[in-house]
C-alpha cells in the first residue's frame, strides 16, 4: 500500500450537489467515483480544476492537504513526497510544465522608463504604433547603385526574412506532447495574429498544410516526420538542440500515445515509443551543426531562415556566437523556467540559468563581436505577460516565444501532469474523448485574444516610452532599471539601478 498522502483534498458540498455526475465524467484522472453520491479519491486529484469549472452547482472545492506533514523549513512536503515516491518505485521522478521552484524572477526586478515633459509620450490610440518585426539574417549594411535613368536601386540581396505582425510567437510543442486540436488552435491563431506556431519535434499533421506561412517546422534529434516536403511547408526551420526545461536531455513519447495519426505524422509504427536522443547523433561539434544548417538551407533552396534552439546554460553566450557563425539566421534561447511535456524533475528544477541573464549575455556577446545583425534572437522560457515581453525586447530579443502562456490561454491549469497523457482540458493528451474537449476554433480565438491584448499593451508601453516603433525599444537597455538586484547582476543585465537617471 502506498504511504504517500494525498496532495489535495476534494470537498463536495452534498447539500448543493445534484448528483448530475458531470464531475465524474469530466475527471480524467479517475478521482471521482459515483457510489449513490460522488465520492472523491483524494490521492488521485491533481488540482486541474476540470470538475470545479464544470460543476453546475459550484459544489466542489479543492484545497491543499495542509496538515499532511509536520512543518519543516528544510524538509518541505514536496521533498518528502518525492522521497516516498522514489522509495516505492525506484524510478526517476517525471514531471511536466516549467520549473515551479521559487528562484528569483528577474523580470520582476526590472522596471520600465516613461516620458515626462522633455520628451512627450505618444498616444497609441491616435498615432501609428509599429510592432512589425522581421526574423532572419540581416547584412551589416546595404549597398545601392544608380541605374541608367539615375534611379537608385538596392544592390544588396537580403536573405529570407519572416514577417511578424507582433513580436510574440508560439513555442515548439509537438503533436504527441499536445493534441491535434491544440496544434490546430495554435496554427489558426498564428495565422489570425500574423505570427508563427512551431511544430515541435513531432512532424506536422496533414491537416495543417494550409498554414505553411505561419509554421516553424522543427528538426530535432529524433528526426520525426522530417521530409523534404515537411521542411518546405514552413515559414522557417528550427533545429532543436536543447530545451530550457531539460537541457542536455532528450525526449520520450510513450508508445501508448502513438496512435494511427501520430504514427503517420512521426513516421514510426503505431504503439512504439518515440525516443529523441539527448544529442543529435550526427551533431557532435559546432561544425556538424553547421553542416545540418546548410543541409537544410540546401533542401529549402535558401528560401527560409534556419533557426537553432538552445537551452540557457552557463556558457550560452559563446555557444550562441558559434551558432551564428555556423550559419544560423536566428537563435532561440530557452531559459530554465521554460515548459515541457515531460522531463525528469531533477533536471527541470536544477539545470540551466534564467533566461533574463542568458538573453542579456547573448545579445551583448553578439554585439561585441559585431555579428548581432546576423541572427535574430528569440527569447523563451516563461514569458508571462506583456511586461515580460517589453523587458525581453529591451534586453535585446527580436521576439519572444510563449508556450505555457499559450496553453493557459487554451485552458491549461498548470497541474504539471502533461506527461501522464490524461490532460482533462484536451491539450496534453491523445485520448480521443479528451482531445474532443478542446474546440480548435475556441482555442484559436482565445490565443488570438491573448496575442492581441499583449500587442495593445506593448503599444501602450511604447507610447509611454515616447517611441512609435518596436525597433526603438529593441536592445534599448537604457529604458530599463533594476530594483533589488546586486551590482554584478545589474552589470550582467547591462542595466542601471532604479534611481539613477541617464
Amino acid at each position: 500500500m502506498s504511504q504517500i498522502p494525498p496532495e489535495f483534498i476534494v470537498k463536495i458540498d452534498y447539500d448543493t450537489c445534484r448528483r448530475c455526475r458531470r464531475c465524474v465524467m469530466n475527471c480524467s484522472f479517475g478521482c471521482m467515483q459515483f457510489k449513490d453520491r460522488v465520492v472523491p479519491d483524494h490521492k488521485k486529484c491533481v488540482a486541474c480544476h476540470r470538475c470545479v469549472t464544470f460543476c453546475p452547482e459550484s459544489a466542489i472545492s479543492i484545497t491543499k492537504n495542509e496538515l499532511t506533514y509536520k512543518d519543516s523549513a528544510n524538509w518541505l512536503p514536496e521533498t518528502r513526497q518525492n522521497i516516498l515516491k522514489q522509495a516505492e518505485t525506484g524510478g526517476i521522478l517525471l514531471t511536466g510544465m516549467g520549473n515551479p521552484r521559487p528562484y528569483q524572477i528577474l523580470w520582476d526586478h526590472m522596471l520600465i522608463d516613461a516620458c515626462q515633459v522633455t520628451n512627450p509620450s505618444i498616444d497609441p490610440l491616435r498615432e501609428p504604433m509599429e510592432l512589425r518585426t522581421f526574423l532572419g539574417r540581416k547584412p551589416n549594411r546595404l549597398e545601392f547603385t544608380r541605374d541608367g535613368n539615375d534611379e537608385i536601386k538596392l544592390s544588396t540581396e537580403l536573405q529570407p526574412q519572416v514577417k511578424l505582425d507582433v513580436p510574440i510567437v508560439f513555442a515548439a510543442m509537438s503533436y504527441g506532447a499536445i493534441s491535434l486540436n491544440a496544434h490546430r488552435a495554435l496554427a489558426m491563431a498564428a495565422k489570425n495574429s500574423g505570427t508563427l506556431m512551431n511544430t515541435g519535434e513531432g512532424g506536422i499533421h496533414k491537416d495543417l498544410n494550409s498554414y505553411t506561412d505561419n509554421i516553424v517546422v522543427q528538426v530535432a534529434s529524433g528526426r520525426f516526420g522530417v521530409t523534404s516536403e515537411y521542411l518546405n511547408s514552413s515559414a522557417m526551420v528550427e533545429i532543436k538542440i536543447g530545451q530550457g526545461a531539460k537541457p542536455g536531455i532528450g525526449g520520450h513519447l510513450p508508445g501508448e500515445k502513438v496512435g494511427e495519426d501520430i504514427s503517420k505524422t512521426r513516421m514510426i509504427p503505431v504503439g512504439t515509443d518515440a525516443l529523441s536522443p539527448a544529442p543529435h547523433h550526427d551533431i557532435y561539434s559546432i561544425e556538424d551543426l553547421s553542416q545540418l544548417i546548410y543541409a537544410i538551407k540546401e533542401a529549402t533552396d535558401y528560401t527560409k531562415p534556419v533557426s537553432v534552439k538552445i537551452s540557457a546554460v552557463h556558457n550560452v553566450a559563446a555557444i550562441a556566437s558559434g551558432i551564428v557563425r555556423a550559419g544560423a539566421d536566428a537563435v532561440t534561447i530557452d531559459g530554465f523556467r521554460g515548459g515541457t511535456g515531460a522531463a525528469p524533475m531533477v533536471i527541470r528544477d536544477n539545470v540551466g540559468i534564467p533566461i533574463e541573464l542568458a538573453l542579456a549575455a547573448v545579445d551583448q556577446r553578439l554585439r561585441d563581436e559585431g555579428i548581432r545583425s546576423h541572427a535574430s534572437i528569440l527569447c523563451a522560457g516563461s514569458i508571462r505577460n506583456s511586461g515580460d515581453v517589453a523587458k525581453a525586447i529591451a534586453l535585446g530579443a527580436d521576439a519572444v516565444v510563449i508556450g505555457t502562456a499559450a496553453l493557459v490561454a487554451m485552458g491549461c491549469r498548470v497541474c504539471q501532469k502533461c506527461y501522464t497523457g490524461n490532460c482533462a482540458w484536451g491539450i496534453a493528451t491523445q485520448k480521443p474523448e479528451l482531445v474532443r474537449r478542446l474546440d480548435p476554433q475556441v482555442g484559436a480565438e482565445r490565443l488570438s485574444n491573448l496575442v492581441t491584448a499583449w500587442g495593445y499593451e506593448l503599444q501602450e508601453i511604447l507610447g509611454s516610452l515616447g517611441v512609435n516603433s518596436i525597433e526603438s525599444l529593441r536592445g534599448s537597455r537604457e529604458r530599463l532599471r533594476g530594483i533589488d538586484l546586486d551590482e554584478q547582476t545589474l552589470e550582467l543585465l547591462g542595466i542601471k539601478p532604479a534611481g539613477i537617471g541617464q
Binding site: V117, N119, N140, E143
Partner: protein, 375 residues
C-alpha cells in the same frame, strides 16, 4: 568641463545656406537665433560655420576645449604624435561679450549674459601624415583620433574636426556666444545655430550644440528617446559615445551611413526617420523594396522621440523632423540661392524676405546642396 550628466533639452535651431557658396558673415545667423531667445535658457548656445578657413581649406581644423594648461599640454603631445600641425592658435574671443540688440520676452527679466569663465579655446590646423593612412582612410584615422581624445583625455574636448569649418559653442545665450566668438568677423556659406534649454542640469561647454565629427555638424531641438539602442547600435562600428548626450548619436549615424556605408543622403534620412509601415505598404514596388530593406537592416539607427535636426556638412545642409513632427521646423527659400531652416518662421523673416516658406512634412528631409563641388 566634462559633465557626466545626460541633458534632455528643448531648444531652438536655425540654419542659413547659400547654394552658390557665397560666403556671408555671422550677423544674420546671430540675429536669427537671437529672435528665438525664449526657446533657450542661457545654458548653452553654439554655431557651425562652413567655408570659414579658405586659407587652410585642406587641413583638418580642430576646435579644442581644455579645462586647464595641463590638459592642453597632454593633448598637444598626442596631437604632435598623430598629426602634422600646420598652425595652432587661440580661438579669438571677446571676453564678456553680449549681444547688444534687444531680445524678446524673458530677456527683460533674465537679461543677456556676458560670457564668462570659458575653458581654454584653441584651434589646430593639421594634416594627417601620409604614412599613417596605410591601413585606414584619412577620415577614418581622424575619427579614431577624435574618439580617442574624447574618451581618454580628461578635461579635453574636440568641438569640431572638419576641413574649412568649425563649431563655436559654449554656456550662455546663443547670441551672446556668437558675439563672444566674434562670428561677425567670419564668412561662411553655411551657418547653423542652436539655442539650448537643458532641463535638469547645468549645461557645460562641451555639451552645447552643435555636435561635430569630421565635417558633420548637428544642431538638434528635441530628445532622442531611442538613444539607448542607437548608442548600442553604433558601438560595434567603433564609435565611442562618451558625451552622454543624445545628439551625439545623430552625428555619428550620419558618419556611419553616409561616409562609411555610402548611402545617398535622402536614404540615410529615410533610415533615421523611416516612413511608417502603413505608408511603405502602399509604395511602388521598387521604392517599397528599398524602404523595407532599410528598416530591416537599419532598425537600430531609427531615431525616435521628438526632434527637429539641422545637419551641416561641407556640401550642404539637411533639415528633418521626427516621424510625427513633435518639434517644429520651417523652411524657406529666396531666389535660387538661399535656403533657410528654423524652429520658427519669424526667425527666418527676421533676416530675410523669403519667396517660399513651408513646413516640411514629418520625417521628410529638406536637402540643400551646393551648386559646386567641395571635398
Amino acid at each position: 568641463m566634462r559633465c557626466d550628466c545626460y541633458i534632455p533639452s528643448g531648444c531652438a535651431v536655425s540654419g542659413i545656406m547659400s547654394k552658390a557658396g557665397e560666403r556671408m558673415d555671422g550677423n544674420d545667423i546671430i540675429r536669427s537665433i537671437a529672435l528665438m531667445h525664449d526657446r533657450s535658457n542661457g545654458l548653452g548656445g553654439g554655431f557651425a560655420a562652413y567655408g570659414i578657413y579658405p586659407r587652410h581649406a585642406n587641413e583638418y581644423a580642430f576646435h579644442m576645449m581644455f579645462d586647464n594648461m595641463e590638459a592642453k599640454d597632454q593633448c598637444e603631445e598626442y596631437l604632435k604624435d598623430t598629426f602634422d600641425i600646420v598652425l595652432d592658435e587661440e580661438i579669438p574671443t571677446r571676453p564678456g561679450a553680449v549681444f547688444e540688440q534687444d531680445t524678446s520676452g524673458r530677456s527683460a527679466e533674465c537679461g543677456t549674459q556676458p560670457i564668462t569663465s570659458p575653458p581654454i579655446l584653441w584651434r589646430y590646423f593639421m594634416d594627417v601624415p601620409e604614412h599613417r593612412t596605410t591601413f585606414v582612410s584619412e577620415r577614418e584615422y581622424v575619427v579614431e583620433k577624435v574618439m580617442d581624445i574624447n574618451s581618454k583625455f580628461t578635461g579635453t574636448f574636440v568641438a569640431s574636426s572638419g576641413k574649412n569649418m568649425g563649431a563655436f559653442k559654449g554656456v550662455g545665450y546663443p547670441e551672446d556666444i556668437g558675439m563672444f566668438y566674434k562670428l561677425d568677423e567670419y564668412k561662411g556659406y553655411i551657418w547653423t545655430a542652436h539655442g539650448r534649454f537643458p532641463t535638469n542640469t547645468p549645461g557645460w561647454w562641451g555639451g552645447a550644440h552643435p555636435f561635430c565629427l569630421l565635417d558633420w555638424s548637428i544642431v538638434h531641438n528635441g530628445e532622442i528617446s531611442s538613444y539607448g539602442i542607437n548608442k548600442r547600435y553604433l558601438e560595434p562600428f567603433g564609435y565611442k559615445l562618451e558625451l552622454r548626450t543624445d545628439t551625439e548619436v545623430v552625428a555619428y549615424l550620419f558618419d556611419l551611413l553616409v561616409r562609411r556605408h555610402k548611402m545617398p543622403m535622402d536614404l540615410a534620412v529615410r533610415a533615421l526617420a523611416s516612413p511608417f509601415w502603413k505608408d511603405i505598404d502602399r509604395m511602388p514596388k521598387r521604392e517599397q523594396k528599398i524602404a523595407t530593406a532599410i528598416r530591416q537592416v537599419y532598425g537600430g539607427a531609427l531615431l525616435n522621440g521628438p526632434f527637429s535636426i539641422i545637419l551641416g556638412y561641407s556640401r550642404g545642409m539637411v533639415g528633418f523632423n521626427d516621424r510625427i513632427k513633435l518639434r517644429p521646423m520651417t523652411c524657406a527659400t529666396k531666389g535660387d540661392d538661399m535656403l533657410y531652416m528654423s524652429s520658427e518662421e519669424s526667425a527666418i523673416r527676421e533676416i530675410a524676405d523669403p519667396d517660399t516658406v513651408w513646413s516640411p512634412k514629418a520625417g521628410t528631409a529638406v536637402i540643400g546642396e551646393l551648386n559646386w563641388e567641395v571635398e
